[in-house]
Symmetry: C2
Subunit: 219 residues, 2 copies
DNA sequence: TAGTTCCTTCAAAAGTTTTTGAAGCTTGAT
DNA sequence: ATCAAGCTTCAAAAACTTTTGAAGGAACTA
């Protein structure tokens, strides 16, 4: 975070006309606005990092999200103090995830970018892809392991303790599988609900004040 | 995964009596069992890494989870091919998260460890801590940014475009805040439900087959 | 045509995280 | 008291990730 001090600023390339010679006050409030943007973009950066993306993806996305007009790669470079290469790569990665779009501006040579503003749409797109990659492959691996244990169990000549061990593992891997499937279903349901409207889900969760029916066991 | 080849095994320190001289078949099936354990522990390792923990935490936890008896630090070291230091640190980290417990075995000098087997309990403990750290601080930061924008807006002499900009940002940061709060509520609800029983939630999500009736919120 | 702007790529540098293992500590046995 | 087993710590090394910026390319202008 040490790196903001010197990017005082504002994208002065934004509308390449009217620059300089404005009142001191306006300049000051623009600076204040930028400080606030920077702070928010760092927060999102950290949050996004926590979810397994690169921090700069969050920072770049946030600036685009908070900007009234599309920004150019160079704007972003100056505002965030990144190298040209970093901006280019971050933008293309964001584009791959579908959370940022390239925009053509009349009579401008360079490309401009805007953020996807539909947060839920964005989240569901991103998560459903990740989920596919991670959770599904875990589910498959658990299933494979279970099948293998099954085969082993049928094999002849196992001493009693090995057999007991196999049984324990079948049970436990079974639980892991169940859990992974539950996670997948939750995500799927959440995301496909979210695509339309998250409200009902939330109302359910908060409304029926948690049936504390002491039933326990995840079973 | 290249590193399993040579930890053929079985914790031969587990019951320091009866070793060697068993049938070939038993040895073979134990090896097969270990291969399967190793695979599962790697899957969990990867999954856990994806959620922001160290891979070895997942690997160690899984071995403990799949083992009928508690294991010693040295068992884990040999089985997973880690250094003494790594095992010690991983175990103490797992203990801090409350997902592994130290066990005293009669007449044994060294410590033994077992995994928490109640998966939901474990998950809710871990997530509620993380959530506090990450999501809450993001919420606070968004709130602070909004307050600041509010103050700015009340400040005198802003030109029209700056004012419009502030308004846009208030709206957008407002959305981010809303989203973060929603996330927090979801997690809270999920976890406190989970502590008792995850069923009702899942039934809700899957049962009412997602009122896709294009009107969504029964407002 | 040559010149310019902007974008992308990628090898190398910087930065970060993880792992190692030797040194030191603690505990219990002799 | 000394010794040994086992655990922990931490500085250094290795592994991995991210960032840099110069080189190259594409597309437009004059």
């Amino acid at each position: 975070m040490s790196d903001h001090a010197d990017h005082r600023g504002e994208a002065d390339s934004r509308s390449p006309g009217e620059r300089d010679g404005r009142g001191d006050r306006e300049a000051r409030s623009e600076r204040a606005l930028w400080v606030s943007e920077a702070r928010v973009s760092d927060v999102v950066g950290r949050l996004i990092e926590f979810w397994g993306f690169k921090r700069n993806m969050g920072r770049v996305w946030t600036l685009l999200y908070l900007s009234p007009e599309p920004l150019s790669a160079d704007d972003l470079r100056r505002l965030l103090g990144l190298s040209t290469g970093a901006v280019s790569m971050t933008l293309s990665e964001l584009a791959r995830w579908g959370v940022v779009r390239k925009i053509w501006v009349q009579g401008e040579r360079r490309d401009f970018y805007t953020a996807e503003v539909q947060l839920w749409r964005m989240i569901s797109r991103v998560w459903s892809e990740r989920e596919k990659i991670e959770v599904e492959s875990a589910i498959e691996a658990f299933e494979a392991a279970l099948k293998e244990l099954e085969t082993m169990r049928r094999g002849a000549s196992l001493d009693a303790s090995t057999r007991a061990r196999i049984d324990l593992q079948r049970e436990r891997i079974g639980h892991l599988l169940e859990l992974a499937r539950l996670g997948k279903k939750l995500l799927d349901a959440l995301l496909s609900t979210a695509k339309v409207d998250a409200e009902p889900l939330v109302r359910f969760l908060l409304g029926q004040r948690l049936t504390d029916t002491r039933d326990a066991s995840p079973r």
